[in-house]
Each structure stands twice: as structure tokens, then as C-alpha cells.
């Protein structure tokens, strides 16, 4: 099932009150910044090098004679360029970032300081193992924390992100099934699943079959029973699910799945709701990826890098990808070769060491007691938001939520305001909007995950703004919503033009066109 919720991608005709133009085009601290390529000073560079003794080149006559086309800037120009650009970004450091399923918690700076230590930053993956025992020690400790928190016996640290973790998990399952001579063809995925789940299953060569939700937003057990069969390799569930709800039938779901000879893959994106409080291993899962950039605070960096280690049950451990850590007395070793039938290598080298260091620093900071508190506060914050909004917005499901609260667009019915418009108005109020139009199981979804690092005051302000906007929407002021956002560095962008006439890299302007 594909995402059919198309929505407007061009700015509307709604006009805003004109702001008088400045000569520069800047507006006080909101400074326009051209592209690097538009500031080129040929022959200028912002890096100085020491001279080197010249010798005869050995490039085989393949010197790069043609101009590359990279612009030249001085150091101060570069600093100004990126400083100005940074100020056009919303970020966690500025305010609440309530994106459901993304877990946008505070990124501690201690993590950054530790990752920058030369002993972690300046080591090469292929150095002799005796010279990197500390790095292997980080990996060993991180493995121990992940296995203990999840209650699972094995872990593969190497996947580079959550999506790669899902692939790792499914490939390991497929390898295990093939080893027992029982290749199967289908993977069951809930309709509410994150897009990476069916994409991963397809990439692994499986046919994807949908599991519907019941009226309470959870997996429909009867429908699941009908879909299970001896051609099903695995189910992929998120728990708590993408509606922010704990799958109360999860023990039964695991049992049914195993009885059918299939494996239970768990998408760990929502682990923040239960870390330190519930061990997924106790729920019957066989494999689960953990997003270190979600639950364990490694920074989102504008879209990446992430890290997606996968924990495994006993049955799957022999098939998990290399490399992994082995201890021989006082010495640690990286085992890089692949056991027969195991998945093999998923990426060069040993995974996202920079993220392991940050995540371990975070785990040591919180400790097991702190991490349980993280889950409790995350769940409390989400429920506080739900309680503060349920009379003016439309929660999709009854009862308490876990770490995220799901609303749909029923409260906007007949107002002329869409989920999209509502979210854009939130931008003018000074917030990054919540996740919109996901999960697909409700109409016009709005998924709010505050995380545990928001204070009560921050939540009160956010709730207040949403209450205000909900009231405005019912009062029939849809025009101002359609014009939002007005105060951001740019207003709504023409995404249709961007897709119909793609301009995907800098094009040097036509000299003739200037005439």
C-alpha cells in the first residue's frame, strides 16, 4: 500500500500583508545568503599549505586538466556563509521538536567532547588490533548495555542506520530460514508501519503483506491469524506502535508467529517509551534494531549520520553479520570473517564508531536508573500533551498513549484548514511542527512526541499554542492558515515546480541570457 495522501505542494493565492522591502533584501538578523558558487573569487583559497619538494609525477598521464568548477573563498567568507545559513534552521537547541517517531531529545555536548578525543577520532579501522583496544572496549561495553537493556543474547553493531538495521535483521532471518531448508516468501507488515519496513522487506526479496489495525489502533489479532501461514518468514512490528500505543497482545502475537515457524522482527524506533522499564526480549521478539540517534541521543545532524545496531535471539546469532567483538582473556579482537551461512558484511569497516562513543557516554551518564526515568518522563510528557489537547483536537484513539500522541484531522472538518495548513501556522508560533500525515492509518495524522527533555513550562507553551490554533481554525480564519508561515526566512515553497522542472545542482547562468 503506497502513501496516497497527496496534498497541495504549491503556495496558495492567499496574500499576506506586505512588509516594506529593504535595499539589501535582508531583514535585520535574517540575512539572505547566496550560493557558494555565486561568491567565487578565482584563485582564492581559504587553506594554506606548506611547500613540498617537487618530483616527477606518476599519474599515468591522467592529469585533471579541465576546470573542476569549485568556487574559491577565504576563511572569513566561509565562516560567514555557514553562520548565516545555520540561522535559517530550526533545531533542538532552539526549542521543542515534537516529531513523532523521531525522538528529538536534547543532544548532550559531553558526547561531542568525548567523540572528539584523538584516541577515538584519529584511529584507523585497519590498525593492528593491539593498538585499538580502547575502541574495541567501547564496542564491547556498548554491546553489553544494548543486550542487557533489551534482554537479548546477541548483538550486531555494524548497521549504519535504522533502515540498514532492519535490512540486517531481515537478512539474518532469511539466512536462518534457508539454513533450515525452509525458505519462505512473505513478510507481514502493519499498515501503520514506517515506510522503511516494507521497503526493507522488498529489498530482501520478500513479498509484503499488510496487517490491518483494529479500532483501538493495535494489530488486529484475528486478521493476523488469517494472514499467518507456513510461507510467512517474519512479521515486522513496532512496539510501541506508530500510533504511540503499546501492543497489548504482543505475547500472543509472538506466540502465534513462532507457532507458524516465522520470526518476529521488532522495529525499535520507539524504544524511548520503554527503555529500562520493559525488555523487548521478554516480549518474544527475535531481532530488533535500535536507533542510537533516537533513544540514545546521538545528534541528528540535519538528517544523519545515524546508527542502527541489531539485537538477536539465540536462534539468529549464528547468522548475524560480521564483524563482532570477541574477548580472549585480557585482549579484545574483531572477528571479521563470516561463518558459513551467515549474512556477511553490510558495510566496509566496523560500523559507526563515532556514534558508539556518543551513545556509550550517554548510557554511562544516565545509568540504568536514569534510563528508566527517561522512559517514564517521555511517557508522562506525551500524556500531559494529550490531556491538554484532547478537548480541542481529535485524538485518534482512546486511553493513555505511550511516548507519543496521535491526532487526526477530524477537528478541522469543515474549517477549510488542512493538517498541512495547521502545521505551517505552528511554524509562525515558533515551533517545528509535529510529524504530519504519518501513520497512514488515520486521515491527516498529527503525531506528537515531546521526549523527556522538555520541561513542563515548554510543554505548557506548546499546548497553549496548539489550543489557540485549534480555536482559530474552528472560528473560520482559514485564510491566515493558508498564508502560513509568514515569519520564516522563506514562505511556502513550490514543490510542484521543484518536481516538474528539477534543478538539482548549481547551473552557471547563461552568458547570453544576461543581454
Amino acid at each position: 500500500m503506497m502513501n496516497r495522501q497527496g496534498r497541495p505542494s504549491q503556495p496558495s493565492d492567499a496574500t499576506t500583508a506586505p512588509i516594506s522591502a529593504t535595499w539589501t533584501g535582508h531583514r535585520a538578523l535574517d540575512l539572505n545568503e547566496p550560493l557558494l558558487f555565486e561568491q567565487d573569487r578565482p584563485g582564492v583559497t581559504g587553506v594554506d599549505f606548506e611547500p613540498v619538494s617537487e618530483g616527477k609525477t606518476r599519474l599515468g598521464g591522467l592529469e585533471r586538466d579541465e576546470k573542476i568548477g569549485l568556487p574559491g573563498l577565504t576563511e572569513s567568507q566561509v565562516v560567514r556563509h555557514y553562520t548565516r545559513l545555520s540561522r535559517k534552521n530550526y533545531a533542538i537547541d532552539m526549542g521543542i521538536f515534537p516529531l513523532g517517531s523521531c525522538t528529538m531529545k536534547h543532544n548532550p555536548r559531553l558526547n561531542e567532547a568525548v567523540a572528539a578525543m584523538p584516541g577515538f577520532a584519529d584511529i584507523h579501522p585497519l590498525q593492528p588490533m593491539a593498538s585499538v583496544q580502547g575502541a574495541l572496549g567501547v564496542m564491547e561495553q556498548l554491546s553489553h548495555w544494548l543486550k542487557t537493556l533489551t534482554g537479548m543474547p546477541g548483538v550486531s553493531l555494524s548497521p549504519k542506520a535504522g533502515a540498514q538495521g532492519e535490512l540486517c535483521g531481515l537478512m539474518t532471518i532469511r539466512a536462518a530460514l534457508e539454513a533450515r531448508g525452509d525458505a519462505r516468501v512473505r513478510v507481514l507488515v502493519p499498515e501503520s508501519a514506517h515506510g522503511t519496513n516494507p521497503a526493507t522487506a522488498a529489498q530482501c526479496g520478500y513479498k509484503v503483506d499488510s496487517i490491518p489495525a483494529n479500532d483501538e489502533g493495535r494489530v488486529d489479532i484475528e486478521a493476523l491469524a488469517e494472514k499467518l501461514g507456513d510461507d510467512v518468514a517474519a512479521i515486522m512490528l513496532t512496539n510501541p506502535n506508530t500510533c504511540g500505543l503499546f501492543e497489548r497482545d504482543i505475547i500472543e502475537i509472538a506466540a502465534m508467529t513462532h507457532a507458524a515457524g516465522a520470526f518476529f522482527y521488532c522495529d525499535g524506533a520507539n524504544f524511548n517509551a520503554i527503555v529500562g522499564k520493559v525488555r523487548p526480549g521478554d516480549l518474544g521478539i527475535d531481532a530488533m534494531h535500535i536507533n542510537l540517534h533516537k533513544t540514545f541521543s546521538t545528534p541528528h545532524g540535519g538528517g544523519g549520520p545515524g546508527s542502527g545496531p541489531v539485537v538477536f535471539s539465540e536462534a539468529l546469532v549464528p547468522f548475524a553479520p560480521s564483524p563482532f567483538i570477541a574477548r580472549e582473556g585480557d585482549t579484545l579482537r574483531l572477528v571479521e570473517d563470516c561463518a558459513d551461512g551467515a549474512v556477511g558484511r553490510m558495510a566496509a569497516f566496523h560500523g559507526q564508531m563515532g556514534m558508539y562513543v556518543r551513545a556509550l557516554t550517554y548510557m554511562l551518564s544516565h545509568g540504568s536508573d536514569g534510563l528508566a526515568q527517561v522512559a517514564e518522563d517521555a511517557v508522562l510528557n506525551a500524556n500531559y500533551v494529550l490531556e491538554g489537547l484532547k478537548d480541542v483536537m481529535s485524538p485518534s484513539f482512546e486511553g493513555p498513549c505511550m511516548h507519543e500522541a496521535l491526532f487526526d484531522d477530524r477537528f478541522l472538518k469543515d474549517t477549510g484548514v488542512t493538517t498541512l495548513d495547521f502545521s505551517k501556522a505552528l511554524i509562525d508560533e515558533g515551533f517545528h511542527p509535529m510529524t504530519m500525515y504519518f501513520p497512514l492509518v488515520v486521515q491527516g495524522a498529527m503525531l506528537i512526541e515531546p521526549t523527556e527533555t522538555e520541561s513542563k513550562e515548554s510543554l505548557d507553551e506548546f499546548i497553549g499554542a496548539l489550543r489557540h490554533l485549534a480555536t482559530m481554525a474552528s472560528a473560520g480564519t482559514s485564510n491566515s492558515f493558508a498564508a502560513a508561515p509568514q515569519y520564516s526566512p522563506v514562505t511556502r515553497l513550490d514543490e510542484t515546480q521543484a518536481a516538474r522542472s528539477p534543478v538539482l545542482s548549481y547551473q552557471v547562468p547563461d552568458q547570453d541570457a544576461a543581454e
Binding site: R4, Q5, G6, R7, P8, S9, Y437, T496, A499, R500
Partner: protein, 125 residues
């Protein structure tokens, strides 16, 4: 207008001899939003009724196109390739997608006429 028929996947077909012209309905183009690209079937391909023949993409959605009848693809609308907005502005005219030579004309009987399709849309809400 000559006898237009609709499928439950919101495609329309108009017959001329044994060749049917197929596109998506006005309802479908509205639901999709601004069309940005259409992946067309290959000319010469032989397909059964219900087979996936292409994909219509808007900015935030992608919808499969299924052929409402069996047959051989004899033409695709190059104009839509150059200007996908035709599907939005004139879905039943200039925004046609492909032409198919029917191998089983009796399949038309299973499709809805304009009235039946309008009723179907009402039921969708």
C-alpha cells in the same frame, strides 16, 4: 461524448473501434494533487485486465495505474511526458495516458458507466 466507462481504480476508457483510450478520472487527479511525472507502459506490451501498467506521481504520492481491460499497448501520450500538468487540467481530454488494442472487448461490460461511477464516488465520501 462517446460511451465512457470507469473502473473502480478511477481510470476511464473510451473506445474507438477496437482501440481504447485510457486516463484517470477528475476525482483521481484531485486526490493526487499536482501530477509531476507519469511512468508509462511500453508500447507493444501485452497485458491482462488489472495488470499494473504504470505509475502516476505527484509531489507527495504515487499511485499505480492498472489497465481496466486486456490487450496490447499501441500508444502513450508523449504530451503528458513533457507536461504532466495536463493530467490535472484536462484529465479526460489532453491528459489521456495510453491507448490499448482490446483483446477481450466483453470486459467493458464489467466497467461502470458515468452514472454508476458518480454513485460510486458518492459512496466514497
Amino acid at each position: 461524448m462517446s460511451d465512457i466507462r470507469y473502473s473502480e481504480d478511477h481510470e476511464w476508457i473510451i473506445l474507438d473501434g477496437d482501440v481504447g483510450t485510457i486516463g484517470i478520472s477528475d476525482y483521481a487527479q484531485g486526490a493526487l494533487g499536482d501530477v509531476v511525472f507519469v511512468e508509462m507502459p511500453e508500447i507493444g506490451a501485452s497485458l491482462d485486465k488489472g495488470a499494473e501498467v504504470g505509475v502516476i506521481e505527484s509531489v507527495k504520492a504515487a499511485s499505480e495505474i492498472y489497465t481496466p481491460v486486456s490487450g496490447e499497448i499501441v500508444a502513450v501520450n508523449e504530451a503528458v511526458d513533457g507536461d504532466p500538468s495536463l493530467v490535472n487540467t484536462d484529465p479526460l481530454g489532453e491528459g489521456w495516458l495510453f491507448k490499448i488494442k482490446l483483446s477481450k472487448p466483453e470486459e467493458l461490460n464489467g466497467l461502470s458507466n458515468q452514472d454508476a461511477y458518480n454513485k460510486f464516488l458518492e459512496g466514497l465520501d
